[in-house]
Symmetry: C2
């Protein structure tokens, strides 16, 4: 067995949240999108007639007739099937899922900073709008989201679900911090002293023995022009 | 027993997706936000110290120590507890959940049409940007999302999960169509002939006997300046 994971090639994107969970838990999977040969196979697979078509990647083909899509839904599914990566009881499952959904909202907002007018347009064609949007994102939204996760950790301890062990949502928060540091290095450095618990969680995930192989491998893609992008004019100290 | 539902007063917003499911299934709940007396109680409750704080409304207080937040997560929870409103088996549960998450993405995009630069700013302060964003939303995103749900219904039949009975995601799609017709009446009228299955589902939900009381009641709030807003300059035939 083993899952087939479909995602756009060349960027970590939303696929990375799924990859981190699969890799950290040692769950076998096949990356179905070729690296370097474009996304033709993905586009073809997306158009395939099936009873459960995904709207967009990432999606996980579990077996013929069982396709799970939407990032947070994939992680929810994996958490049910592989209980080491998520709480087992009902309250805990819905708790980490709601945190994951909140992370996905944060990620979508981070993306829209560089594409406020339209995802089909080039960044260069919406640069003034992006600069305006980035101001509010840096000054209000970043502290709001960081503050929320800081507050949760103050209640729960080292990991977002509580307890002694990571769950998939900790891996996702690690990746969001990585992405935001890539995209907004100046702002994130200024904010760091106020969000020590979030950054400590980031460092704990980065040091997990079960992630070392993956993080050092070529499978871990670098940020470039995907969800998280670094445009110096969108960053700033306040 | 009975759930406590917290949401901003005065607008249907994201709370409406939860309300429709509770009302159609006849599940008892208390609306915790006063109508007309502002949102002070909600703001206070949001700030309360608890092990599972919500990031934002809507949220459902099931009991002390069990708070479910994020709209799609609330519906997932309700579907597990009240199996008449969602498929019971694993594949079906994840299927309607992914559709609900796709609807929530669509709703977020619909909102950002009138607030492309910042949700803290007035519409009047981002009107030119909104007009630019609305073009792509009307010409590309609306047909893409409508086309996706049309394709699903072509595969599954009258309801999004298949089968002979509605699930919560059908109620949500009904409400999204209502909201889009309110916000973009000219564009939705032009698109109508291409998306007959989606519109037939809308009409079927609107005619459900179990929703008639609610839809005719004062509990069903009118659209105004919430998620879906009607600004004539953002609408158009193409």
């Amino acid at each position: 067995m083993g899952y087939d994971l479909w995602y756009w090639s060349g960027i970590p994107g939303r696929g990375e949240f799924v990859r981190l969970a699969l890799e950290a838990a040692g769950i076998p999977y096949r990356e179905k999108t070729g690296r370097g040969d474009g996304d033709a196979a993905l586009v073809k697979d997306l158009a395939k007639s099936r009873p459960d078509p995904p709207f967009a990647p990432p999606y996980l083909v579990v077996e013929e007739g069982l396709v799970i899509s939407q990032t947070a839904n994939i992680l929810l599914y994996l958490g049910e099937k592989h209980p080491r990566i998520a709480p087992r009881e009902l309250a805990g499952r819905h708790w980490v899922h709601q945190l994951q959904l909140t992370l996905m909202d944060w990620v979508a907002e981070s993306h829209d900073v560089h594409h406020p007018v339209g995802m089909d347009l080039y960044y260069e064609d919406q640069k003034p709008e992006a600069c305006r949007r980035a101001e509010g994102f840096r000054s209000k939204r970043l502290p709001k989201f960081l503050g929320y996760f800081e507050r949760v950790l103050a209640q729960r301890g080292d990991w977002l679900a509580g307890g002694k062990r990571w769950s998939y949502v900790d891996l996702s928060l690690f990746h969001v911090v990585e992405g935001l540091r890539f995209a907004f290095p100046r702002r994130m450095a200024i904010l760091a002293p106020d969000f020590r618990r979030v950054l400590a969680l980031h460092d704990s995930v980065q040091a997990l023995p079960e992630l070392q192989d993956y993080l050092a491998s070529e499978r871990r893609l670098a940020f470039s022009d995907g969800l998280f992008r670094h445009y110096p004019e969108l960053d700033g100290e306040d």
